[in-house]
Structures are given as structure tokens and as C-alpha cells.
Symmetry: C2
Subunit: 280 residues, 2 copies
């Protein structure tokens, strides 16, 4: 392992993502300054030798890289509070699932030059410090979404950070990122949740589903608070995507209602073809 | 293994279900009369010692149990053709995913006394004789839906048949069955297919989805022709179920559009609660 192009990383929020990042960095002998609203977590992490517990938010000035590992609403709020103390930082990034809002927020705060949003695809159903672990990012894709005004050295630094913990950075502009995840991640969650809610409404328990139905509804178990933040923040991309699924359902339902077997078959065939294409 | 309460089973349709049933019965020394529209399949199965290839449909009179293992439309048509030759049969059953139509059809043909529909939950994505295998039904639930006029001995025979090949019979009336599978099996397929079609329409390839999105869209790969038959036959139960999912999607979309975080959270929470309940 070559030595990293950064000395001290400030990690704000020690949940699954922030905690795992702190552990990976500590294991690779990078100094970590760690913040969490739960001071007991910070103390335990410090006792375990993973990080240094700062006195105040102002101590973040010792970090050359700052990572906001909190939900999108908190990240925006924190960015404003941190701004005065980021004089020495060469990179500020985050790990939220949506990127347009935070990148725009950083620009508004005049942090665009050093702000490069990140979105590592490394979550799972668990959350919190206790779920965090080393190696979480190994082999995972990490989207890297620079502010339009970001300097090239900060972008390179963000890519280095993710490569350093084993992830594979992929540069993409924030709007394209949000459209991509809107369709590939947020829409499947919404569809899964809508099916789950409909089944709940019909008083059909999950234990009555077969393995296929359990697959379709698995994502519905995701954390409601987190997903509310994601869906609201990415509403611009998500609304037309949800409408597209509604259109497909309505079209199929109307074809069924009029007994139009040709139209029903055509719809199931388009879904089937898509599913067989690069099945993965 | 105790000896079965039947001597000769006529299996009509040697696909995944019919073929596997024939194999299981042959392995347990029950004589099988096998039919398939593909005569080469029948010849191969006869050469392998699994069944006896009859000369004509009339030869079915040698069977005391007759199993229609073909799609619903063919099953209804065949039932009419077979009726004159079923004088010796003590049980006629089928393996279709929907039960109200076929049970009603059997009654119309005056076969109600010996007709007990079946629905073994043992399919997978493969189909045809080549996919058939012994042991397919081991441990699987097999719904058993008697005609309202069925004699108790025919019902008991249907339960014996499924127990004999390792399945677990569960008696349920045809309408309750169709409502149950409409919500637990057909609706998840429809939701998965609608999402897949929407993604196809947005030119988002399946390889761009994460593991969660792949779970949600897995069922969309199912055989379009088979699912068209199922959905049309169970339209009565399926239409209000599809509408319920549409309502959930529209409600979530409207809450997102007006930025109503309380309403969005409430919807994700209902889905989350349902998914955690008896998680399975």
C-alpha cells in the first residue's frame, strides 16, 4: 500500500458508512477525527484507538479531508456550520445517496472549489456504529460527483480516498447520478414499498408469500426515515419514474379488464425481454 | 412407503410439472399413461421406462386418476374432450395456478363429483420435459380445491396423490385460493413486470441495478405466455389488487410532489412494518 495523499480525515457521523470508513482509515494508519451526535460512540471509538475525539466542531480545521457521513438534511445543515472552519481542507465530501442538492449547497456556501460529493454503494439493511466494520467498501462502486467549480486536485483526492479503502471510484455529474440512482435504486425501493403497503392493506402477511414475492418485497424493509430523506431529495428524478410504473400497471390492468390477451402478452414480453437481457 | 390408493395415473402434458409427477410416480412403481402434444417427448419418456404411450385419448379410460398438466386454456378444452372417456376415473385433477375457472368448467361438464383441482407450488423459471425431475414436489405446498359437488373419496384421493410424491396438501375452496394467489403470487409478478417495463422504457439495463433492484425485478423473467393465461384467468381477483398498488404509488408520488415528509414517512413506515412482521 502506498502512503495516502492525505494526513488527517475528519469523519462526521459514525454510522455504518462513517464508522466503517473510520475503521478502514485507522487500520491503514491514517489519523481520524471523529464526530457523532452520540458522544458514547465517539468515546468507545477513541478507546478502541480508531479515532481522536475533538473538543468542538472548530477542531475540524486539523483535517485536510472532511467526510460528512450523515443523512442529507443533516449534511446540508452541517456544511453551513463547518464552512468557517474549513480553511485548511483540500477536500470536503459526503456519502449521501443523492448528489445534486448537496453539490448545489456546497456551491452556495462558496465551498465548490473543494467539494466533491461521493456515493459509495456499500449500505445494507443494518445501520449504526455497531454495524460498521473494516472492508465494507472493498470492491464497491463509489460515485464521485464534483461540484462544477471543484478543482482537479480535490477530485483526484476524492478518488484516492475511495481507492484507498478498496472501492472503485466512478466520476459522474450530480444530475446524471441522481437520475441513474433514481431509476436503478430509488424506484425499485418505491415499487417494493408500494407492493408491501398494498399487501398490508389487504391483510396479507409476508409469511404467505412464496420466494418470488419475498424477493419483490425485500427492499420494503429499508429504514423509513432514511428513505423519506432520499425520496424527497430526489423527487425531481423520482416523480416521472414512479409515474412510469403507474402507467405500466394501469395499462396492464386495463388490458386485463377488457380481456385483451395480445396486449397483456405484449406487456409481459417486454418485461421478460428486459429481465433476460444481461441477466446478471 | 405404503402402496398408493390408485393403480394407473394418466398424466396429460409432460412439461416441468407433469413430467416431474410422471417421474415421481414411475419411481414409486405406479403405472403412468403419458400424453404430450410433442410425440417425441412421449416416446423418449416411454423408452426411459417412465410411462406407457397410449394410442388415443380414449385410452385414458384405463386410468383411475387423471392429471391435466397443461396451461389453463388447454386444460378447459381437454376436459371437454376427455369427459366421455372418464367413466372409470375416481379423480380428475389439474395443476393450474388458478382454480375457480377450471372447477366451474368441470361442474359444467358434469365432472364435479370426481373433480378436485390442484395447485402444487413447485414451479421454477425453467419449463418443459427436459426441466422435469424426480423430487420436485418434496416439501412443497399443494393446494387442493374440490368442486363443490366433489365426493369425499375423490378429495381424499387428491390429497393422497400429492402426499405420495412428498407434497403437503392444503384444502381450500377455489375462490379463496384464487384470491390468495392473486395477492401473494400474481400481484408480485405484475409489480415486478411493471417495474421492469418502466425501466425498459427508460433504457435502463438490468446490469445497472444493484442487488436490491435485481431482487425486485427477478420475477419479471417469468414465461410471458404462461403469465398472460394466469393473469387473464384470475383477472377478477387481480384487478383490485393491481389498483391497490397503483393507489399506493400515486399516494406516495403526490406526497413527494408536495414535499409532505410526514405523509411520505408514514407510507414507508407501513411498508417497513409489514416487511419486518414475520420476516421469513
Amino acid at each position: 500500500m502506498t502512503s495516502p495523499p492525505f494526513q488527517t480525515v475528519g469523519v462526521i457521523g459514525l454510522g455504518l458508512i462513517g464508522g466503517s470508513l473510520a475503521r478502514d482509515l485507522a487500520e491503514r494508519h491514517v489519523k481520524v477525527i471523529g464526530y457523532d451526535r452520540d458522544s458514547a460512540v465517539v468515546k468507545r471509538a477513541e478507546r478502541d484507538g480508531i479515532l481522536w475525539a475533538p473538543e468542538s466542531l472548530a477542531d475540524i480545521r486539523a483535517a485536510d479531508v472532511v467526510v460528512l457521513a450523515v443523512p442529507i438534511d443533516d449534511a446540508l445543515r452541517l456544511l453551513g456550520k463547518l464552512a468557517p472552519h474549513l480553511t485548511a481542507a483540500r477536500l470536503v465530501t459526503d456519502v449521501c445517496s443523492t448528489k445534486a442538492t448537496i453539490v448545489r449547497g456546497a456551491d452556495t456556501l462558496n465551498l465548490g472549489r473543494i467539494f466533491v460529493g461521493s456515493h459509495p454503494l456499500a449500505g445494507d439493511h443494518r445501520s449504526g456504529w455497531d454495524a460498521s466494520r473494516t472492508g465494507l467498501f472493498a470492491g464497491a462502486r463509489a460515485y464521485v460527483c464534483p461540484s462544477p467549480t471543484a478543482q482537479e486536485s480535490s477530485i483526484a483526492l476524492a478518488e484516492s480516498l475511495w481507492r484507498f479503502v478498496g472501492a472503485v471510484p466512478e466520476r459522474i455529474d450530480a444530475d446524471s447520478h441522481d437520475r441513474e440512482v433514481g431509476w436503478t435504486s430509488h424506484l425499485p425501493h418505491v415499487a417494493s414499498a408500494a407492493l408491501a403497503s398494498a399487501l398490508a392493506g389487504a391483510a396479507i402477511g409476508r409469511d404467505r408469500l412464496g420466494s418470488g414475492g419475498r424477493d419483490v418485497t425485500r427492499l420494503a424493509a429499508g429504514d423509513p426515515g432514511l428513505w423519506t430523506g432520499i425520496a424527497l431529495d430526489n423527487a425531481t428524478q423520482l416523480l416521472p419514474a414512479i409515474e412510469a410504473v403507474e402507467r405500466e400497471l394501469r395499462g396492464l390492468r386495463e388490458a386485463l379488464a377488457r380481456g385483451d390477451s395480445v396486449a397483456v402478452l405484449k406487456r409481459f414480453e417486454s418485461a421478460h425481454q428486459w429481465a433476460l437481457d444481461r441477466r446478471g
